[in-house]
């Protein structure tokens, strides 16, 4: 074995050992590396509920309600198995829509509501023209983005007392 081959082998072994080590570390910290928890995890109390955390999922269609003060909204975040009610006072991002992905940061209230201090919208990995999305929808394909960009989310106003 020539010297240079031996050096090459050492490098290869080194990188392999390092990769395994990094993989094990990432595996061990798996639960700390996720950006958000799912409603199912929250419902099963796998999340420390006395501390602030992020909750992610889809905004349940038909649950978005604006409160009489005009700034507070209520909606449910679902992973299609479980849903958690969320309350938030503030400005929603443009891409926030019913049926779309959302990540909210905040704390669980004793009453079972999640009080969000920050709401982030998630978009998916599909890019296409509005006409193409429309055509797909007409053909009966499920298109995730049900409302086109630029359109404001439809918010049902609760009757003021």
């Amino acid at each position: 074995m020539k010297n240079r081959h031996r050096r090459f082998a050492w490098i290869a072994v080194g990188v392999a050992v390092l990769s395994v080590a990094v993989a094990l570390v990432l595996k061990a910290f798996q639960s700390n590396l996720v950006l958000f928890r799912t409603p199912t995890e929250v419902a099963e109390k796998k999340v420390p509920l006395d501390r602030a955390f992020r909750l992610g999922g889809l905004v349940q269609a038909g649950t978005l309600k604006r409160q009489p003060d005009g700034l507070t909204v209520r909606f449910e975040v679902t992973d299609t198995a479980k849903a958690i009610p969320v309350r938030y006072t503030g400005i929603l991002p443009d891409l926030f829509k019913e049926g779309k992905g959302v990540v909210v940061q905040g704390k669980m209230e004793p009453g079972g509501d999640f009080i969000a201090t920050e709401v982030l919208a998630k978009h998916d990995e599909n890019y296409m023209a509005p006409e193409a999305a429309e055509a797909l929808r007409k053909a009966g394909h499920p298109v995730k983005g049900e409302i086109f960009a630029g359109e404001k989310p439809v918010v049902t106003q609760q009757p003021t007392k």
């Binding site: 050096r7 996720v34 950006l35 982030l120 983005g145």
Partner: protein, 240 residues
Amino acid sequence: MNLYRYASPASFYPLAGRLWPVFAVIAALLAVYGLYEGLFVAPTDFQQGEVYRIVFIHVPAAWMGMFIYLVMAFYGVLALSFNTRLSAMMMRALAPTGMLFTFLALWTGALWGKPTWGTYWIWDGRMTSTLVLFFLYVGFIALTESIDDERRADRAGALLAIVGSVNIPIIYFSVTWWNSLHQGLTFSKSGGSKMAPDMVIAMVAMVFACWAYSIAVALVRARAIIREREPAHVWNGEAA
């Protein structure tokens, strides 16, 4: 013709001198075409509107930032195991370009994140690992520049490049491994492309523009390094 002879700085120097203007022209043409295609021809996106067009800078820059680090690690392996002078020079010539692209990816990502997600920055798996990549580039440059002995600097840098390359798969797969604010992979082996064809054309043009640009500046920088380290070769090899 023996291609290996270009592994010697003396014969590589004039070759690089002839090649870099070619890549520079290709980069300029592709960038003009890609930006025109991306900003004027490609359709509006159905969910994000016009703001998605930053993808034509953001994604090529991010890919380039990751890819250049892998190339540096590859040159690092060659430099460490075969002691080839030119590989170490190429490795160091690539670092500033990789750092630039990683910075661009982070910066355009922040500008894109605010109007779509609602935040400039969040400690998302992909963003955090890309920030680590940026620090690896900064560290690589700082480390190699701080050691006066060029051969020792090359070896230290090669080691850092090789060790740091473990981060690249983490960046790439972060969106599939952990739930994240980033969406899943738009281009994948199993799912094909989830982007409209007009947008893909602009994307491909921009990706190759970034490639050509990176090659051109790396060649120019490699020539500067050769001139610095082995002036004798240069003056004999080319009357410049």
